[in-house]
């Protein structure tokens, strides 16, 4: 037991040193069946990766807020990648959800959560903001109404 506690608290020291990290590259299929590779889109502007699922209640509210942000800044170069972590039991509902809720983003399918784990995700929603150099500048888990105000400020800063 004491060994575990030591390791646990030692591991916390890492947080103090954690810095800006290069976004791990990945290739995922979109809902149209085409592959999307993240690194091929670096350099065009900030990229917001949002991990969500059809069964996730806070994700619904967050996606509504992201829709407004995307519409406002897409012409300035903002890209939004909406990565569904729906697994085989719910992935068939992604396309219907996207159509009904009129999500305008690029929708990618991470059916076994491999990319979600690559980004250290444990529960959706998870938002990861990447600058045009491919570095992670901001991440946020969960969603409370008003979170989008902070996110928007970070995006505006990157667009300047």
């Amino acid at each position: 037991m004491h060994r575990m506690l030591i390791v646990f608290f030692l591991s916390l020291t890492n947080f103090a040193f954690a810095g800006q990290t290069t976004a791990p590259d990945f290739t995922l299929p979109d809902i149209g069946g085409n592959n999307y590779q993240l690194s091929k889109n670096f350099g065009k502007g900030p990229i917001l990766i949002n991990f969500w699922a059809t069964w996730c209640l806070p994700c619904r509210s967050e996606m509504k807020a992201l829709k407004k942000i995307y519409k406002k800044y897409k012409d300035d170069g903002l890209q939004v990648l909406s990565v569904s972590v729906d697994d085989p039991r719910t992935v068939s509902k992604v396309k219907g959800t996207v159509k009904t809720y009129r999500y305008p983003f690029t929708i990618l399918l991470d059916t076994n959560s491999e990319v979600f784990q690559l980004y250290q995700g444990t529960n959706p929603p998870l938002s990861v903001l990447i600058n045009k150099n491919g570095e992670i500048v901001y991440t946020h888990t969960g969603y409370r109404k008003g979170d989008e105000i902070n996110l928007q400020k970070k995006i505006v800063k990157l667009l300047k």
């Binding site: 060994r3 030591i6 947080f15 290069t22 209640l57 039991r89 219907g96 979170d147």
Partner: protein, 491 residues
């Protein structure tokens, strides 16, 4: 084990200095419960860490598990649970060590990690993944981890976080994409002989996908031939999923037919359940427990946007066994309205049936913005249950209320209360007991963003025993009378 501990401790000291090169990432997830009853106490930790350089990534997971008794029969374990070395270059990804994988839609293989279910079926071996414009291919070989330990394993598995391993498997998947609208592929898996089977097994599937603007279709057909000595019909599984769009109306349809198709009691595969995954607690409490050896059913769901801010959903699903018994059936309706009485509302109603039991559900969910950063959320759920097979007929109801005040992006303070006229989830029913007594559970929860990506959640009070079902896999979370703390951080 001592050596591993020492090595890990050294690594943890060294890694922060390496992080200056900005190539380190990881996460930490700790759950702790201090409860009145011993069976509800637990202390678990998962710590992932990985170091990237060029196209290489080296990583591992340290874990400690002292799980609640009902989650598994696993004894206290700790140590290095996973380690891997990964290389990625362009379309190619090679990984040696522990990995998760999915072939097709999980009919043939699905190894995954779900901490809510305490489920981890990672494979220790080699995985090669190639994704390009016209071809996707995956090859894998290794030994899967046995997720659930039985009593015999307990005696020999102390202090082994990775658990016992199952016999080796070898397999892969290839997907050809000759046209954007047509994808065709196949999967194959061979599992070697071991304690659970006297000889090796082969299984495989063919699948196809069609994409149109107005529709999409996915179909997979899988087979599992059994040797004659098993006296079993060859396993067969069919899964079809489709989407149709008629103007604003979106229709999703799914069909399944599984016969003799659970491997190692479902440890290696997890075909789609063809049921609805709900947004609310009580609706998810009574779900289908998957039996891929004998299931047939379908699901239809329709979504329609109403005006600018509303969405209506209606769904139906049914699962039967080979004797035509209705194992699970559900009618469901939901209506969402973004601008109603100054708030965002969701109303839902469902009727679920499993064998002789039926459950009627009603839900109302309202969210109000108080200021730009403050909001309040109220969810009321009601479930009325009836079991026709018991004498006298068993009837009871559950009511659940959640009231949460949030300040973005820092904290949420919630009150959670439940009232029921039946204490049991569904087992240990005492005739004549239900409907006559009242049971109450109540607690407060504080969720705080402590620092950057460090989130702390503290629950204090009482919480009833709860059945949690995800994708046909169910666990019963024990009753809590005490404090539960969850800490999740990423870096």
């Amino acid at each position: 084990m001592k050596k591993i501990f020492n090595l890990l401790s050294i690594l943890i000291f060294i890694l922060p200095t390496v992080s200056i090169s900005q190539k380190i990432s990881g996460n930490i997830h700790t759950e702790y419960s201090s409860a009145k009853k011993a069976q509800s106490r637990f202390f678990e930790n998962w710590s992932d860490i990985s170091l990237s350089r060029g196209g290489f990534r080296l990583g591992g997971r340290f874990s400690f598990h002292e799980p609640p008794a009902s989650f598994s029969q696993q004894d206290t374990t700790w140590g290095l649970a996973q380690r891997f070395l990964e290389y990625k270059r362009g379309d190619l990804n090679i990984r040696v060590g522990n990995f998760y994988s999915l072939l097709g839609r999980g009919l043939v293989l699905r190894s995954f990690d779900n901490r809510t279910l305490r489920w981890d079926s990672n494979i220790d071996g080699l995985k090669v993944d190639y994704r390009s414009q016209f071809v996707d291919a995956k090859i894998l070989a290794g030994r899967p981890r046995k997720t659930r330990l039985d009593v015999a394993d307990l005696k020999k598995s102390k202090a082994r976080p990775a658990g016992e391993k199952l016999p080796a498997l070898y397999g892969g998947e290839i997907k050809l994409k000759p046209y954007t609208m047509l994808h065709l592929g196949g999967t194959y898996l061979y599992t070697a002989a071991g304690a659970h089977q006297t000889q090796g097994f082969q299984r495989g599937s063919f699948f196809g996908k069609l994409y149109f603007d107005f529709a999409s279709l996915y179909g997979e057909y899988a087979v599992l031939p059994y040797p004659e000595s098993y006296h079993l019909q060859d396993g067969k599984a069919i899964y079809v999923a489709s989407n149709f769009f008629l103007g604003d109306l979106s229709i999703t349809g799914e069909f399944k037919s599984y016969k003799n198709f659970a491997f190692y009691d479902g440890l290696l595969n997890n075909p789609p359940t063809v049921t609805r995954e709900h947004l609310f607690t009580l609706l998810n409490r009574h779900q289908l427990v998957q039996n891929a050896n004998d299931e047939k059913g379908f699901l239809v769901e329709m979504n329609y946007p109403v005006a600018e801010s509303g969405v209506a959903t209606a769904g139906y699903c049914i699962t039967r066994d080979s004797l035509q018994n209705t194992v699970y059936q559900e009618w469901y309706g939901q209506f969402e309205m973004d601008e109603f009485l100054g708030g965002e509302w969701v109303w839902a109603a469902g009727r679920q049936k499993e064998y002789t039991r039926r459950y009627l559900n009603f839900v109302a969910d309202a969210t109000y913005e108080l200021t730009d950063y403050y909001s309040i959320k109220v969810i009321y759920e009601h479930l009325h249950a009836r079991d026709e097979a018991t004498q006298p007929e068993r009837m009871y109801y559950d009511q659940l209320i959640t009231i949460g005040l949030s300040k973005a992006p820092k904290w949420t303070l919630s009150f959670l209360g439940e009232h029921s006229t039946d204490q049991t989830v569904d087992e240990h029913y005492v005739p004549g007991h239900a409907g006559t007594k009242h049971f109450y559970w109540a607690g407060g929860q504080l969720d705080v963003n402590v620092y950057k990506n460090f989130d702390l959640s503290v629950f204090a009070g009482t919480r009833r025993q709860g059945k949690i079902c995800i994708g046909g896999v169910c666990v019963v979370k024990p009753e809590l009378q005490g404090v539960e703390v969850t800490l999740i951080g990423r870096f």
